[in-house]
């Protein structure tokens, strides 16, 4: 059973560029959340997708957007990259059971470096 998979594992971009990160949830999971983890910090919640819609959003600017596909996979897009966007981007998947979500499982992350 494949867990949460993210691609690419590493990425280097230039300031002002745009980037797309991808996530495939764990088999059977239908909810995907994205987190940003700066060096030496705990992960910060960006947003969550369920049924192809953004359900909750953290304190991130509109430059951060996402999408969820019918197969539950998800993309995180960041426009107009800043040096401060350099971080490990984590995807977590879970299953929505009624009004609750099961425990979240994380992927290995995508290390984004903006130069």
């Amino acid at each position: 059973d494949a867990g949460v998979t993210q691609s690419p594992t590493h990425l280097i971009k230039t300031r002002g560029q745009q980037v797309t990160l991808r996530c495939s949830p764990k088999s059977g999971h239908d909810t995907v959340s994205w987190y940003q983890q700066a060096l030496g910090q705990g992960p910060q919640f960006i947003f969550q997708y369920y049924e192809e819609e953004e359900r909750q959003r953290g304190n991130f600017p509109d430059r951060f957007s996402g999408h969820q596909f019918p197969n539950y996979s998800s993309e995180l897009n960041v426009n107009a990259l800043l040096l401060g966007d350099s971080a490990l981007y984590l995807c977590a998947s879970s299953y929505k059971l009624g009004s609750m979500n099961t425990e979240a499982f994380f992927g290995q992350g995508t290390r984004l470096t903006v130069v």
């Binding site: 992960p43 910060q44 919640f45 499982f105 992350g109």
Partner: protein, 112 residues
């Protein structure tokens, strides 16, 4: 803004010693989770506690949720080099686990 404060931030101890990591908040959480993260990897879930005062044991690791559901602790007995890693606590405001608020992390190093 980090709502969960962990202490200590860094801890380096000898193999065989005991240690406790703390996770504190002024906010109430419906559940609290502990994760361990290795360099270059995503966090791996260790345990979830949901009831105030709850104690859970995972081999040499003991997790406790505070009575008021605002704080938690992780105690490791007879630490081993394999326990080395970044330990993160994360709280969920509602039982839906829809958004996790992570702590600042405790970087633990066990010296053989």
């Amino acid at each position: 803004t980090q709502l969960l404060e962990q202490s200590p931030q860094f801890l380096s101890i000898q193999e065989g010693e005991n240690l406790t990591v703390y996770c504190n908040s002024s906010s109430v959480f419906s559940s609290l989770q502990w994760y361990r993260q290795e360099p270059g990897e995503g966090p791996v879930l260790l345990v979830t506690v949901v009831t105030g005062g709850e104690v859970k044991k995972l081999k040499r690791l003991t997790f406790q949720f505070g009575d008021a559901r605002k704080d938690s602790s992780l105690h490791i007995t007879a630490a081993q080099p394999g326990d080395t890693g970044l330990y993160l606590c994360a709280g969920a405001r509602n039982f839906g686990n829809e958004k996790l608020t992570f702590g600042t992390g405790t970087r633990l190093t066990i010296i053989p």
